[in-house]
Structure formats: structure tokens, C-alpha cells
């Protein structure tokens, strides 16, 4: 299966077309009259995610962080755009690559760093590491690395929300690889069958581990599965926070109003390898330095900053100050994580059961 012929395989006709082509969407974003304050907050959150993940990458390289760390550098716009329409009573579920989802939902930066280093004040009290994050007070109800493992949980959370009748929704973040898991299809069917208020967010980064989607599926368009299950869908450039936010808002408001589930396919690309800090050019079967360089020009942060500059709402000194401020917060969070206590030995057995 890994012969040259197979590895060289590409789609004769990509169903995503230009959305999957890094030559497109490199210009400054179309801000569509969205207010500067909102966009500047999004910019700051995306920068926080990127700098936090770069700091985590450094912790992995230095050997301080031992747990598997899956970085979402390059994919920041998706959870930031989605989170714009979420509220703290919504129920968000992540996957193995959830730092960005957690931070975008409002998760605490210091708790993230402490968790990555396995310390007691961590988001999951040092019991989870990078792949198990929790920020219940912000509606981030958990992330786990079993591929698609949380997708039915979000559907159940949506069932509970529907029973509560308060307009809350469930959110499931997953990738293109998860679409190869049967439970995603079971979950889409269940959500459509019961018309549940749930948003399926597919972060389609075109790779699952080392495998290009062309080697795994007959199409690169994941939303075809939403079509099959009669779930409303939107397909957007996942590196455009404005487009993501608008599409997510549409589907989320529809779900809150009783219109049933939605599926957001956001096309993106991860700048680092499947796991760890490296770019993994040598690991991907069809991942190339040229392709990565091209995707870096489709930078979700740079394109937003450029658009704000073009509108006169940001200049280089302001952007520098923003980066410096966020960088200081990130450095402080790493320092506090390093100084934090390890879990007590009683935690080895303590959390297995609620009581007894």
C-alpha cells in the first residue's frame, strides 16, 4: 500500500477544489464590516494559542513535557471563530489536538501549561496531560485521544440540552481522520434522527497522522457525510476566522432555535507533525516542504492582521505590543507551571470512583 504509485496518488478532481489549494486565500481577510474590537480580540486569542503551542513545543524539545502533544499551529482560526457564538452553558468536546479548542473556549492558560507538565493545578489536576483537558466552567467538558471518541458524547450532551429546553448546544471537534470512524456516522444519524442541537466541527487538515486524505478516502470533502445524513452543512476556509465565525454562527443559531444539527467543515493545514514539535516533512507520505511553505502563506493570523492594518485598525507597533503582551503571559504561565506541585500520591487511586 505504500509503494510509489500509491504515495503519489492525488485526487483527479478535489471536491474541495480551491479550498484545499494553498495557492488560494493568501490575501488579507475580507472583514465584512465586522467591528474592530471583536476582530482584535480574535487576533489576540489566535496569537495566544500560537505562542502557547510554540512554548509547549519548546517544553517537549527540552524534555520537560513528556506526554504526547499534538499541536494545532496553523489551525487557530477554527475554534476561535466557532467560540464567538458559544456560551458557557454550551457543551464542548475536544479530541487529541485540543489546546486551541480549550483556549478559544476560555480555558485558563496557566492551567493548560500545568496540565502539559503533569502538575496538580493543571486543567485536569495533572491527571490528563495534553490530551485530556477540562474547563467545565467555560463549557469545555473534556477532550480525549481515541479518534472520534467524544463525537457521540457531544450528541448526548445535545440530547440533554434539548431536554433542558434552554437553547444550549453540544459541540464536537474532530478531524478528517475521525470521519473514517464508524461512530461519526452513527452520531450524525442519531443527531439528525432526533434533531438535536449539536454542531459537528470537522477541522479538515487533509492529514491523519502521516496519511494524506487522498490515500484514505475517495474524496477530500468531509461534509459529504453531513449530506448523507441530512445534516445542514457549511464548508469554509478554516484559516479565515471571519468566514468560520459567520458559518458557525449560522449553524449554531439554527441549532439553538430547534433547527437540528449542523456540520461545519473548516479546511486547514497543520504546520507541525501529527505529534510533537517537528514539522515532519519526512514523515508524511505526501507532505512536502513546498506544500508547507505554501500553507504558511495562508496564515490565519497574518491574514487577519494584514486586513486590520489595511482598514487602519492595527499597525506594526500595536501588533508588536500585542505579541509582547501575550508572550509575557505565556512565559509567566510556563514559569508558574514549572513551579507548581506534582499530584499527591493519593491521586493514583483517588479519582477512580466517586466514593469508596
Amino acid at each position: 500500500m505504500t509503494g510509489d504509485g500509491q504515495a503519489a496518488r492525488t485526487f483527479a478532481n478535489s471536491e474541495l477544489g480551491g479550498l484545499a489549494d494553498p495557492a488560494n486565500f493568501t490575501a488579507p481577510l475580507d472583514l465584512r464590516n465586522q467591528p474592530a474590537a471583536r476582530l482584535l480580540r480574535d487576533l489576540e486569542t489566535m496569537i495566544e494559542i500560537r505562542l502557547a503551542e510554540e512554548a509547549i513545543a519548546a517544553l517537549v524539545e527540552s524534555g520537560e513535557a513528556k506526554c504526547p502533544c499534538h499541536l494545532a499551529i496553523g489551525q487557530e482560526a477554527i475554534p476561535v471563530g466557532v467560540s464567538r457564538s458559544l456560551r458557557q452553558t454550551d457543551r464542548i468536546f475536544g479530541n487529541h489536538r485540543s489546546h486551541a479548542q480549550y483556549l478559544a473556549a476560555g480555558g485558563d492558560l496557566s492551567k493548560l501549561m500545568a496540565e502539559v507538565l503533569g502538575r496538580a493545578p493543571g486543567a485536569s489536576r495533572g491527571m490528563g496531560g495534553s490530551m485530556h483537558l477540562y474547563a467545565g466552567e467555560h463549557g469545555f467538558l473534556g477532550s480525549v485521544p481515541i479518534v472520534a471518541g467524544t463525537v457521540p458524547l457531544a450528541v448526548g450532551a445535545a440530547l440533554a440540552a434539548k431536554m433542558d429546553g434552554k437553547g444550549d448546544i453540544g459541540v464536537a471537534y474532530f478531524g478528517d481522520g475521525a470521519c473514517e470512524e464508524g461512530v461519526v456516522h452513527e452520531s450524525l444519524n442519531l443527531a439528525a434522527c432526533y434533531q438535536l442541537p449539536v454542531l459537528f466541527v470537522c477541522e479538515n487538515n487533509l492529514f491523519s497522522s502521516h496519511m494524506d486524505v487522498a490515500l484514505r478516502q475517495p474524496s477530500d470533502r468531509m461534509s459529504r457525510f453531513a449530506d448523507a445524513h441530512k445534516v445542514a452543512c457549511e464548508v469554509v476556509d478554516g484559516n479565515d476566522v471571519v468566514a468560520v465565525a459567520e458559518a458557525a454562527a449560522l449553524l449554531i443559531e439554527r441549532a439553538r432555535a430547534g433547527g437540528g444539527p449542523g456540520f461545519l467543515e473548516a479546511v486547514t493545514y497543520r504546520w507541525r507533525g501529527h505529534v510533537g514539535p517537528r514539522e515532519d516533512i519526512d514523515v508524511g507520505l505526501r507532505r512536502s516542504a513546498e506544500e508547507l511553505t505554501a500553507w504558511k502563506r495562508r496564515d490565519p493570523i497574518g491574514r487577519l492582521a494584514a486586513a486590520l492594518e489595511a482598514r487602519g485598525e492595527l499597525d506594526t507597533p500595536a501588533l508588536d505590543r500585542l505579541r509582547m503582551g501575550v508572550g509575557a503571559r505565556v512565559a509567566e504561565s510556563v514559569a508558574s507551571a514549572r513551579a507548581a506541585a506534582w499530584p499527591e500520591s493519593s491521586a493514583l487511586l483517588g479519582p477512580v470512583y466517586v466514593a469508596g
Partner: protein
């Protein structure tokens, strides 16, 4: 629920009474599973619950064991106490990722901040030439996994009360009942609301010569065997485990210290199974000289369930199998 006068109930109807108690008294309880709007699949255990409590709380569902189990777990993280029903345990295997990777570990992975208050009901339904994929009792798989509580009622009272205790427990519980017990009858009084964490194995019968241990249907075999052995002058303690994970063997250890003989009956396979675990746990807590005979296991042969009735009759242990095993132990020098 008003206090009921003692009534005779079958094991199957007692499970239904457990559901009725939960649905009538706990607004956060709902039930989801295949066939619940036409529950002939599950004997007498769920009849008309949908009519009595509404289809919004007694929910029939698509043929998606994994997603429905995951959905029940997800709802349990959001203020509900769902019960997901797998009318046949063989099909519950399709949901096992959600049970083992998900529910069992959820609380631990997140540092104790969130607990799936979900009950996963699996029904053992075998015999009648149903064959290899319609016969399995897989409690040992789930009992192996920390984070799950595995409950196996043997008596009619426990069928009702342990279902209630399972659902009111804040941990994920695998509740396993057995169709071969559904016609067993008992006179039941009021619901016993002992919390699941305080439910311990129960000595159902006392005798000085041998300790018979089982869970669920195996307890019935133990009781029948004890009656037969008594007629031959051999008196047995019968211990009903009730909860097989976490496993509490204190009552079994006490009994074996008295009888010196341990025979564990389990309706599943031997290798890495419940019977072996009970034997090992008891052996570790006693001295070699406490035993008058080597402990024995009565389990299924190491084969899938056959279909033909001739082979089926060889496959499933009966009370006679238990009696023969005990006679062998008693005769041992």
C-alpha cells in the same frame, strides 16, 4: 412512590419495578435503547414503560450501539442519569470503546472533576439454539476495567433494588441481568435504597462443608446444587457476589475459613475470568492449611456457544455439574 404491600414478583417484573421507581421519582433519569417502544426483546422487564412515562424519557433508537451508549454517557455529564439498554450483551461489544475507553476513565482522566452517572444495562440471553453471537456473558471483561462498577443481581429483590442503586450511583455502572432468571419469583416488600457502594456479597444459605460462590444465574445453580448436596449430607454456604467490580471477597474468605472448600460457579469462560479471580483473591487471603481441598471452578467449556441443542446441553453447566464437582472435592483425601 407509595409504600407497596408485599407482592409476588418475577425477576423480569422486578426489573420493571426498578425502572418504574426511577422514572417516577427521578426526573433526571431517562432510558434509551433498541426496541424500547416494542420491548418484546427484553421479556417482561420493560413492558409499557414508554406508555407510562412517555417516549421522550423512554427512547427507542437506531441500530447504533456505540453512538447511543456514547450519547447516554454524554448526557450523564450534563445533569442526567441515563440508562442505556443493550437487549443482548453480544451487541454491547460494539459499544465497548465508549464504555471502556470513555466512561470508565472519564473521571480519572479529568482529575475527578466530571463523572459519568450512566448505567449500561446488558442482558445475557442464551440457550434455545441461539448460537455463538446470541449467548455471551461478558461480565469479566468489564470487571477487569477500573472505573466501572459491575452489578449482577441473582435474586428478584436485587433485580429491582440493585438497578435502582446502580442508577443512583455517581459512577458508571454496568448492570447485567440474565433472561434465565426472569421467571424466578419472590415476595418483595418496599424498595431497599442501600447505596451501591455499600452493597456487599450476601450469604444466602449456611453449611459447614463447602463454599459455593456465584453471581447472577450461577447463584441459582449454587442454590439448587446446595439443596441436592444437602440431601446427600453435604452442607454448603452459598455466597451471592451481587457486585463483581470492585470485587469484595471478605464474605467468601470468612466462609472458606469455616468450610475449607471453595467452588466458584460462573456462566462464562474460565481463562482470566470471574471464577479464577475469586479463587485467587481468596487464596491470597488464606493459608494453604486453611483448605481441605483444592479450590475448583465450574465454568463454560473454552468454546463459543454451540447452536444444536445436543451440544448446548453439554455446553452449559447445571446444578448437577456443581454437585459432581463438590462431591469430588469432598471425596478428595
Amino acid at each position: 412512590m407509595s409504600q407497596a404491600s408485599p407482592t409476588t414478583l418475577s425477576y423480569g417484573r422486578a426489573i420493571r419495578e426498578g425502572f418504574r421507581y426511577l422514572l417516577a421519582n427521578h426526573r433526571d433519569v431517562f432510558v434509551i435503547g433498541q426496541g424500547l417502544w416494542s420491548p418484546w426483546y427484553v421479556g417482561s422487564s420493560m413492558t409499557d414503560l414508554d406508555k407510562d412515562f412517555g417516549t421522550a424519557r423512554v427512547i427507542d433508537c437506531p441500530v447504533s450501539e456505540m453512538a447511543t451508549t456514547g450519547a447516554a454517557i454524554g448526557a450523564s455529564l450534563c445533569g442526567y442519569r441515563p440508562i442505556i439498554v443493550h437487549p443482548r450483551m453480544d451487541f454491547m461489544i460494539l459499544a465497548t470503546d465508549q464504555i471502556v475507553n470513555g466512561a470508565a476513565k472519564w473521571r480519572y482522566m479529568l482529575g475527578g472533576q466530571s463523572s459519568p452517572k450512566v448505567t449500561i444495562r446488558g442482558i445475557v440471553n442464551r440457550g434455545g439454539e441461539q448460537g455463538a453471537q446470541h449467548s455471551q456473558a461478558l461480565h469479566s471483561w468489564y470487571a477487569h476495567v477500573p472505573g466501572l462498577r459491575v452489578v449482577m443481581p441473582a435474586t428478584t429483590g436485587d433485580a429491582r433494588d440493585l438497578l435502582i442503586a446502580s442508577v443512583l450511583c455517581d459512577d458508571p455502572v454496568v448492570f447485567i441481568d440474565d433472561r434465565w432468571l426472569y421467571e424466578q419469583e419472590e415476595v418483595l416488600g418496599d424498595v431497599d435504597l442501600t447505596p451501591l457502594t455499600e452493597v456487599a456479597p450476601r450469604l444466602l444459605r449456611e453449611g459447614a462443608d463447602v463454599t459455593l460462590v456465584g453471581a447472577s444465574h450461577s447463584v441459582l445453580l449454587c442454590r439448587q446444587a446446595a439443596d441436592e448436596l444437602s440431601r446427600a449430607g453435604v452442607e454448603a454456604d452459598v455466597v451471592d457476589l451481587r457486585v463483581v467490580a470492585p470485587l469484595d471477597v471478605a464474605a467468601v474468605v470468612r466462609s472458606v475459613r469455616k468450610t475449607g472448600r471453595l467452588c466458584v460457579v460462573d456462566g462464562s469462560w474460565e481463562n482470566c475470568g470471574l471464577a479464577g479471580e475469586v479463587v485467587a483473591a481468596v487464596a491470597e487471603r488464606l493459608r494453604p492449611q486453611d483448605f481441605r481441598a483444592s479450590p475448583r471452578r465450574v465454568t463454560l467449556p473454552a468454546a463459543p456457544a454451540p447452536t444444536s441443542r445436543v451440544l448446548e446441553s453439554l455446553y452449559y453447566p447445571t446444578s448437577a455439574t456443581v454437585v459432581a464437582t463438590v462431591r469430588d472435592m469432598v471425596a478428595a483425601p
